[in-house]
Symmetry: C2
Subunit: 290 residues, 2 copies
């Protein structure tokens, strides 16, 4: 790919910061301008060499920008798109890193109006439970998937450029419809986060919680790792993908009721079959990954 | 501790095999005899230096044995105790590694009769998702907890010997009532296993399961790691600890219903508070661990 002469990262956290570092390492970017609400975080980003300069003036930031990468929490994106819109030049591509796509697309369509074709909806499938510029590292996207969810109006050349950008960072790109994306990620990402938060909260509210936690071990630690994720970020994702997530929550509760019935009946064969189906499916999945 | 001149391990898998290796490494055991149903597994155990010899003759195995460690799946323990009983000499201590305690104690009491005082119920809080002698390693118990759940009749000197045995392997020992043990582990271990199995099964049963799994990433992998565990073992644990586990399942389903209500109402503050309580509780727990 042709290097991006000027990249603007709005929201220089784990995702945006890691993207800037990865593009630098690939020699795929010239100048990086950071935009954000927290001065302290932008200072960290500059000290770590993630960005070259920082501003909160959108007019200045967007001047001669080739790519604007919006990696704020999804709930902030409508306001960010509204601030981008008046300064967005014809040759500039806007893309995002949001975990939900239908709501981000609706916000971009509303704010950008006739410039909506310049927006390429994207979701890099990567992350850790840590946040902020200090958590960024250039290898985050290596070997990972990025979903692009272009709309009928989206400029095809812009989509190709964003695909090339993520590939330069070592990721592989899939194209998917936004609604399908949101259904799939409700099931494989958003639901597990809610389930992990719910388990830890259930224990934390007990008067004798300390004794429970004292005997929690490795299985519990891995199961609940994602419950150390940002509450604000997951609140926003949950609400943004509410319908798909409610469908998944109900499906999962039905599955738990089924499990409860098997257990109440001491149905050893039924429990064994359920556990074995799960174990085999997971092991098949792991085998395909490697 | 005084080394165990002859240790008998019944069920030479991850737990029993690792205990034998750890005791050898600590210079805390002389001869190790393995007993098990699978000739192949016992051969592996001998090749790996876990056991010195193997037999399926309980009379021979128990001769001059100092400690008999029963680390079969919990559902097999009643039969194992019944086979031990006629050959159990007065000076021999029997202990186990089962994940549930009330059912194991009931089985031991029934099978051992007047020799029940020689049995020390134990649960080492360690494991991986792997099984069999080939998965054993001597560091498994280092820095981990072991719960002993002696009954009023249990010989105090036997309890002290079993505590010293686990401490020689690098573990720390807690004493707890069996019923309390089963409640706590239903919540922090058995329930998470069922939740992970249920999530993977829910996805695996969908006609378009491959597309879901294709986009599952690191959060899903950690959340579901324990769903790669042995179905047979978890079927047995679930049934053995059925009442406590049903209580936990119901409590968790109530918590999910609460979450659903918050989400259906788009209650951002409510979701944020729930997630933050969980995140903080988990991070406090991690901080206390380290």
């Amino acid at each position: 790919m042709k290097p991006i002469a000027k990249l603007v990262v709005i929201g220089v956290g784990l995702i945006g910061g890691s993207a800037a570092l990865a593009l630098r390492e690939a020699g795929a970017v010239g100048h990086v301008t950071g935009v954000g609400r927290s001065r302290g975080n932008l200072d960290v980003a500059r000290q770590l060499g993630i960005i070259d300069d920082a501003t909160d003036a959108y007019a200045l930031a967007l001047e001669v920008a080739n790519v604007v990468l919006v990696t704020t929490p999804v709930a902030q994106m409508p306001a960010v798109f509204a601030r981008i819109a008046p300064h967005l030049q014809p040759g500039t591509i806007v893309t995002d890193g949001g975990s939900t796509k239908q709501d981000v697309i609706a916000a971009a369509r509303m704010a950008l109006g006739t410039k909506f074709a310049q927006f390429v909806p994207a979701h890099p499938i990567a992350g850790t439970e840590h946040t902020g510029a200090g958590a960024a590292f250039p290898e985050l996207f290596r070997g990972r998937k990025v979903v692009l969810a272009p709309e009928p109006e989206t400029d095809a050349a812009a989509t190709a450029s964003v695909a090339a950008m993520w590939e330069a960072m070592g990721a592989s790109v899939s194209i998917m419809q936004a609604a399908r994306h949101d259904s799939i990620f409700a099931a494989v990402s958003h639901l597990p986060h809610l389930l992990a938060f719910a388990l830890v909260e259930e224990l934390a509210l007990r008067p004798d919680a300390p004794e429970y936690f004292e005997f929690a071990a490795g299985g519990f630690r891995d199961f609940t790792r994602i419950a150390s994720s940002s509450p604000e970020m997951w609140r926003d994702i949950a609400i943004a993908n509410r319908e798909a997530l409610l469908t998944e929550l109900r499906g999962y509760r039905n599955q738990l009721e089924r499990l409860e019935r098997l257990l109440a009946a001491s149905d050893a064969n039924g429990l064994n079959a359920l556990f074995a189906t799960a174990r085999d499916a997971r092991n098949d999945w792991l085998a395909r990954l490697s």
